[in-house]
């Protein structure tokens, strides 16, 4: 029993389909409870008022936007090393999800920034690097769409993902250097905040628990979407193969 068993497309589809309903339900419950708890049963923040509540969408989306790319990097590496088609297709399936998460983070950030900073958009390092991340997703998806041969497409996009990761990281630090920002630093999963030594910059527990629930819900939703979309990609490729075979036989 090893994880590589699931590299078999058939095995992947049957086993993901067994867990998918549970994943959908769990993510719906987590996001639903988290949002309702966050929106209606937590107080307003002292200085930000009720605008703080957009945090329940902004933070999970932003976390997934980055981690989706990391997942694509991992599955691209697996494809390049072990040539499992499911892995390449999972990277392809995750890209649009990650792009949408980036967009959600940008849009909710703008909506949050307008009343708080008095502007929809500033060229702050974090905002800028998210915009850059969005461009990377765009290029990656466009390359997948442009190439017809599936294996070539998987190889080329994997290389783009590897090289792109290095440059995305570089851009992250370059923009950091380029402009100082308005956006606060990491304040949710920092070590000092978690063990409780730092109470100044930490997100209050009142907001933290519903936020945690939302993050869990978003992660489950992401996993479910990737499983679902990967299954679709596998089936689409199978149909293509069947059509090609029929054409040869006819």
């Amino acid at each position: 029993m090893s994880i590589w068993e699931y590299a078999n497309p058939k095995k992947f589809i049957t086993s993901t389909e067994r867990v998918l309903p549970a994943l959908w339900a769990a993510s719906a419950v987590c996001i639903g409870v988290g949002l309702i708890w966050g929106f209606f049963f937590t107080g307003d923040e002292a200085r930000q008022g009720s605008t703080v509540k957009i945090i329940y969408l902004h933070v999970p989306a932003a976390m997934l936007a980055i981690n989706a790319w990391v997942m694509m990097l991992a599955t691209s590496l697996v494809w390049l090393v072990r040539r499992h088609h499911v892995s390449a297709l999972a990277a392809r399936a995750a890209a649009p999800v990650g792009m949408v998460m980036t967009l959600i983070a940008l849009v909710t950030g703008a909506i949050w920034g307008q009343p708080m900073w008095g502007t929809w958009w500033v060229w702050d390092p974090r905002l800028t690097s998210f915009l850059i991340l969005f461009l990377f997703y765009l290029g990656y998806i466009a390359l997948w769409e442009a190439i017809e041969d599936p294996d070539t497409a998987a190889d080329l996009t994997s290389f783009l993902c590897l090289v792109g990761s290095v440059f995305a990281l570089l851009s992250r630090y370059a923009v950091n250097f380029w402009n100082q920002g308005l956006h606060q630093g990491a304040s949710i999963f920092r070590a000092e905040a978690v063990i409780g030594t730092d109470t100044e910059e930490k997100v209050s527990n009142i907001f933290f628990y519903p936020l945690l629930l939302c993050i869990v819900g978003f992660v489950l939703l992401f996993v479910a979407l990737v499983f679902y979309r990967t299954g679709t990609e596998i089936r689409a490729r199978r149909i293509k193969a069947l059509i090609a075979r029929e054409r040869v036989e006819a």
């Binding site: 290029g139 466009a142 442009a146 070539t152 290389f159 090289v163 792109g164 570089l170 370059a174 250097f177």
Partner: protein, 218 residues
């Protein structure tokens, strides 16, 4: 290697005039900037370093689709791939030829165009230095983009979409060196970062480009 380099240089100089096009584009872009934002000298001198960098970057980008596509079409790329010379050296030479025919003229033209944009006097030196350090990285990164899209019929637009995000770190540090140099600030950190990006790209990216090219030639 030298034979390949001189072949590429001769092709660029003679066939179809790809050599001057990048330069002409750079000139036109620089002329259009005052026409679009207005001719106030103070405004122009503050945006001049950034405009020169952006112009050089776009001129590099425009000439990229000729870099490998012509050799791909007439099949000489297949011959080069089967030649005893490793493909990594081939793409390095291609990038070098691209830099000599596009990057170097841009570096030399930049101070002349700086006059048009009312670039402050201390800026001239730093614009040239930053472009000199940065354009090799642009050529090498561009070669990677060209190798990615070489098999596509109309890859030009897609290649721009792929290459531009990769150009961002180089652009940020390069333009920062030029900007700081023009207003007399300390330039050491961005200069070192720019040089580092250039050196690392030249050293590592040919391997990625060659790997991608092998996939495309398969």
């Amino acid at each position: 290697m030298i034979a390949l380099l001189s072949r590429d240089l001769r092709l660029a100089l003679r066939a179809g005039g790809g050599f001057g096009l990048g330069l002409a584009f750079f000139l036109i872009l620089t002329v259009m900037v005052p026409l679009s934002v207005g001719p106030q000298p103070a405004l122009l001198s503050s945006i001049a370093p950034g405009v020169l960098w952006l112009g050089a970057l776009l001129a590099c980008l425009l000439s990229l689709d000729r870099l490998l596509a012509l050799d791909w079409e007439d099949g000489s790329l297949d011959l080069l791939a089967t030649a005893p010379l490793p493909l990594e050296s081939v793409v390095s030479i291609k990038a070098l030829a691209h830099w000599i025919t596009t990057g170097l003229p841009l570096v030399l033209a930049a101070p002349v165009l700086g006059v048009l944009l009312n670039l402050p006097v201390p800026g001239f030196k730093w614009v040239v230095i930053s472009l000199l350090l940065g354009t090799p990285a642009l050529s090498v990164i561009g070669t990677f983009g060209a190798a990615l899209t070489v098999g596509l019929k109309r890859g030009g637009l897609l290649m721009s979409l792929l290459v531009m995000p990769l150009y961002l770190p180089t652009l940020i540090f390069g333009a920062e060196v030029a900007r700081r140099g023009a207003i007399g600030m300390d330039i050491q950190t961005p200069l070192l970062m720019l040089a580092g990006i250039s050196a690392a790209s030249i050293a590592l990216l040919p391997f990625a480009s060659a790997a991608v090219l092998r996939i495309n030639l398969r």
